[in-house]
């Protein structure tokens, strides 16, 4: 993120007046890349959570984080289309609403599985749930 921001700023500065005002303007010019980068960082944090955590509930929360990163991408691209002139472009919003619905359904089913699992095995640690692992 830092390198991208610095690179953007360094590209912007020679075109404008080399003043603090120009520097601040270049820093404040937010394009779609910033939102995509933020979305990617959220995605990477979510993947790290899914891969490393031992508590299955935290893994579910990390999956919600990944889905939110996708939502942020959809909304940013829709805004990009809108700012490009297609003012009535809202398909990304609709996709985001469907992703929220699917995430809610997934959370309900997953948590039902967690409750059933805890009733049978008395644990939520994923490395103790290894009956099907050879």
């Amino acid at each position: 993120m830092v390198t991208e921001a610095m690179w953007t700023v360094l590209q912007q500065v020679p075109n404008q007046a080399r003043t603090w005002q120009g520097f601040i303007d270049a820093l404040l010019k937010k394009g779609i890349n910033d939102f995509i980068l933020l979305s990617f960082l959220l995605f990477a944090i979510g993947v790290a959570g899914v891969l490393t955590r031992r508590n299955i509930l935290i893994i579910f929360m990390s999956i919600e984080l990944i889905l939110n990163a996708a939502n942020l991408n959809f909304i940013a691209f829709t805004r990009y289309w809108q700012m490009s002139g297609r003012l009535s472009e809202h398909m990304g919003h609709v996709f985001t609403i469907f992703i929220i619905v699917v995430a809610a359904a997934e959370a309900v089913i997953g948590l039902g599985i967690v409750i059933a699992l805890y009733r049978n095995r008395q644990t939520v640690a994923i490395d103790e749930i290894d009956l099907l692992k050879w």
């Binding site: 404040l28 939102f35 809610a104 039902g112 967690v114």
Partner: protein, 199 residues
């Protein structure tokens, strides 16, 4: 044009808040704290949606995620493991931490290489540069016709019309999916005694 600078400042604040809360989520010592950090992350993402003029989606995010899904998470945490976590401290991470670090680093480097060095958006960049939040001094974006409900409800109206015309079939499928989820969670979460009683 003062607003553009303010919006960019809000972007930085919300992005930092969201990232810090997400990192706190994946490093949270207990699941209850994780749920609260998840709530903060979702609120930050909803603020970013507001910044991108997606008011309806931001409201839906707050209502469904923060009001529904996170509360469900907290319910399940209370049902499942709150006592065990307090009595014997839980080992937080699995043993595959090193593998996970390698995967995440490869992913970051891959995005850095293919996304920034190879520049897949060069076709977009050749077109007119579009800043999502207009910089100070830029010409204002094309202004919509002011309506009776104002701009906020206009976004909601547009989303609704798209949802019920172009995306009508997925909408119905989503309702069936929710029904299946309700029935499936009831079936999954009942006890053995209930199963024997009703089967």
């Amino acid at each position: 044009m003062e607003l553009a600078g303010t919006e960019a400042v809000f972007f930085y604040i919300l992005a930092l808040f969201t990232l810090v809360m997400a990192i706190a989520l994946v490093t949270a010592p207990t699941a209850v704290r994780g749920a609260l950090y998840l709530m903060a992350t979702l609120i930050g993402v909803a603020g970013l949606f507001l910044l991108l003029h997606a008011e309806f989606v931001a409201g839906a995010q707050i209502l469904i995620y923060v009001g529904g899904v996170v509360v469900l998470f907290i319910f399940v945490i209370m049902l499942v493991n709150i006592r065990a976590e307090i009595n014997e401290p839980f080992r937080t991470y699995t043993r595959q931490r090193r593998l996970a670090a390698v995967v995440v680093i490869v992913m970051v480097l891959g995005v850095w290489y293919f996304g920034i060095q190879q520049d897949p958006f060069h076709l977009v960049r050749q077109g007119p540069v579009v800043a999502l939040i207009p910089p100070p001094g830029a010409p204002p974006p094309p202004v919509e016709e002011p309506t009776l409900g104002g701009r906020i409800s206009e976004d909601t109206q547009e989303v609704g019309s798209v949802l019920y015309t172009k995306a009508a079939l997925p909408f119905e499928i989503a309702s069936v999916l929710l029904l299946v989820a309700i029935v499936g969670s009831v079936v999954l979460a009942r006890t053995r005694r209930q199963e024997e009683t009703f089967d």
